[in-house]
Symmetry: C2
Subunit: 254 residues, 2 copies
DNA sequence: CGGTTACTTGAGTAGCATCAATCTAGGTGG
DNA sequence: CCACCTAGATTGATGCTACTCAAGTAACCG
C-alpha cells in the first residue's frame, strides 16, 4: 500500500518508497536491476551541469547541495539534499543535467539508470506514482521557497531555513533540536539570497534571544516555538526585526 | 520523432507535443479519450489550492497565473502560463492541487484526467517522455527564477521579465517586440518580489532610455539588445542602476 | 605552526519599500 | 452621452533593511 497520509516531509517518504518500489518492482516484474551504489566524499561532485543525463540518483546517506551558474560565473545554490531525496530530476528536460551536485559530507547514492526508469514507470504503478509525486513535490517546495525569497525579511529567512532543517532531520528520525549543519554560512546566505554577514548577525541575535545556540556547525534549538513565530510574518513587524541590528546598543540580553 | 533540438523555450513545444501525444496515443492504443475542453473568462478560476486532484490541464489559448497563499493571507504569484503550458503538475504530490489558477483573459484548456494520464504514461513512450520533460523543465525554470530573485537588482528583474515574455511570445509564433501584457503591474511586482512603484519607475526609466515604449498593457520593445544587456549582471554595476532613480533630476533623455 | 578558509563584528550607505498624493482609463448607471 | 466611480498606474519624499567594505578572530589542514 502506498496510500500513506502525506505530511509536509513526505518527500523523504516518497524517496524512501521510491527505493522500495525499485526493489519490489525489479523482482516482481523481473527487471534486470542495474542501479549501482557509490560513495562520495566531501566536496566531490556527482555530476555537473551540461553532462549527459544518465538517470536519477537517490541519496542514501549524507548530504549534498545543487547549484547553477550564471553567465558571469557566480553560483547560486538551489537546494540542499538529505537521505531519501531524488537527484537529477531536472535532467529529463534537455537530456542533460541542468545543475551541479556537490557533496557536503561523505555520502552514498544509488543510480537508477534511465532505461530501468522507463521500465519501472511502465510496469510498476507504485513506482510511477512515487516518481510523479516526488517531482511534483519538488515543484511545490520550489513555490514555497520562491514565496519566501520574495516576501520574507532576512530574519524570517534564517528562521525558516533552520525550521526546514529541523523538520527534515525530524522526518529522518534524528533530533529536531540538536543538529549539525553540513553547509557553511556562505552556503546558507547564498541559498537564502542574503549576505553572509547578515546571516551571521541574525544567528548571533537569535543566540542573544536564547532561541538557539550555535557553535561552528553544531546547532541547538532552545525555543522551537519562538523560532516558529520568528519565521511567520505578522510576528516580525514591530519589535523583533527592528531589534536585530540595534539590540546590542540598547544593551539587553534579557 | 520527438527528438527535436531543445531550445530555451521548448516547454511550449513539449506542451504542444504533449497534446499531440495524447491524440496519437489515444487512437493508436485505443484509449478512451475523455479529455474535455473548456473555456474560461478573465478572473475566472480553474482550480484552487486544496481541491482534489483530477488531472493535468493543458492551456490551449489565453493566459493564466498561479499563486499560493501564505498563512497570513497574502498571495504570491508563482508563474504565468501561456498556450502549451501544463497546469496542475503540483497536484500529484498530495493528490490535491497546491496552487490557485486564475485566468488573465479569455482562455481555453483541455483536461487530461488522471486515469487517462496513467494509461498514456504506461503505453505511450512519447507521452511519458513529454510529461517527464515538461515537469523537469518546470524544475529548471524554477531554479533560474530563484537565482534571479536572489541575485538580480530590481532593474534586472524587470528586464528579465520582459525578455522572458518576449521569448515566450516568439516561440508561440507571435511578435517578440510588440506584446500585450495580460497581467497588471501589481502582478508583475508580486511575481518578481518587488513593490509596484518600483516596477512602474523602472518601466518609465526604460522608456526614457528609449529601450521600450509602454502604454497601458501594450508594450513595444525598441532596443532588444540593450534590454538584454540591462538584464545581465555586469552591465548594471555603474551607471544604469544608479540612474534609475535620479536620471530625471539630472534632466537627461539623450 | 604557518597559511588558508570560515566566521564575526562594526561603520557607512545604497537600493528599494513605504507612505501619500495625483492621474488615467474603463465600466456603470442615471 | 456624460458624470461618476473604482481599479490601476504614476510620481515624489522619506526612512529602513540589508549590502558593502573593512578589520579582526577562530577553526582547520597539511
Amino acid at each position: 500500500m502506498t496510500n500513506t497520509i502525506y505530511t509536509r516531509q513526505h518527500i523523504i517518504k516518497a524517496g524512501a518508497t521510491l527505493e522500495a518500489c525499485i526493489t519490489n518492482a525489479s523482482t516482481r516484474y523481473n527487471i534486470k536491476q542495474t542501479n549501482s551504489h557509490r560513495i562520495f566524499h566531501t566536496k566531490e561532485s556527482l555530476f555537473s551541469a551540461g553532462e549527459e543525463f544518465e538517470g536519477l540518483y537517490i541519496l542514501r546517506s549524507g548530504s549534498a547541495k545543487s547549484f547553477i551558474t550564471s553567465l558571469d560565473g557566480d553560483e547560486h545554490i538551489t537546494k540542499f539534499f538529505y537521505p531519501g531525496d531524488l537527484l537529477g530530476a531536472d535532467g529529463f528536460d534537455e537530456h542533460k543535467y541542468n545543475e551541479n551536485i556537490l557533496f557536503l559530507e561523505t555520502s552514498s547514492v544509488c543510480l537508477v539508470k534511465e532505461s530501468d526508469l522507463h521500465n519501472l514507470v511502465k510496469t510498476s504503478d507504485d513506482f510511477r506514482s512515487c516518481l510523479l509525486r516526488s517531482m511534483s513535490h519538488a515543484l511545490v517546495k520550489d513555490n514555497s521557497q520562491m514565496m519566501c525569497l520574495n516576501t520574507c525579511s532576512s530574519e524570517q529567512k534564517v528562521a525558516r531555513f533552520i525550521i526546514e532543517l529541523s523538520e527534515q532531520f525530524h522526518s529522518l528520525g534524528l533530533s529536531c533540536t540538536k543538529l549539525r549543519l553540513s553547509m557553511t554560512r556562505t552556503d546558507i546566505a547564498n541559498y537564502m539570497g542574503m549576505a553572509i554577514e547578515t546571516v551571521s548577525r541574525i544567528l548571533t541575535s537569535f543566540q542573544n534571544k536564547q532561541v538557539l545556540s550555535i557553535k561552528n556547525r553544531q546547532l541547538t534549538i532552545l525555543k522551537l516555538d519562538t523560532l516558529y513565530s520568528l519565521a511567520s510574518k505578522e510576528q516580525c513587524s514591530n519589535d523583533f526585526c527592528a531589534n536585530t541590528y540595534t539590540e546590542k546598543n540598547i544593551g539587553a540580553v534579557y
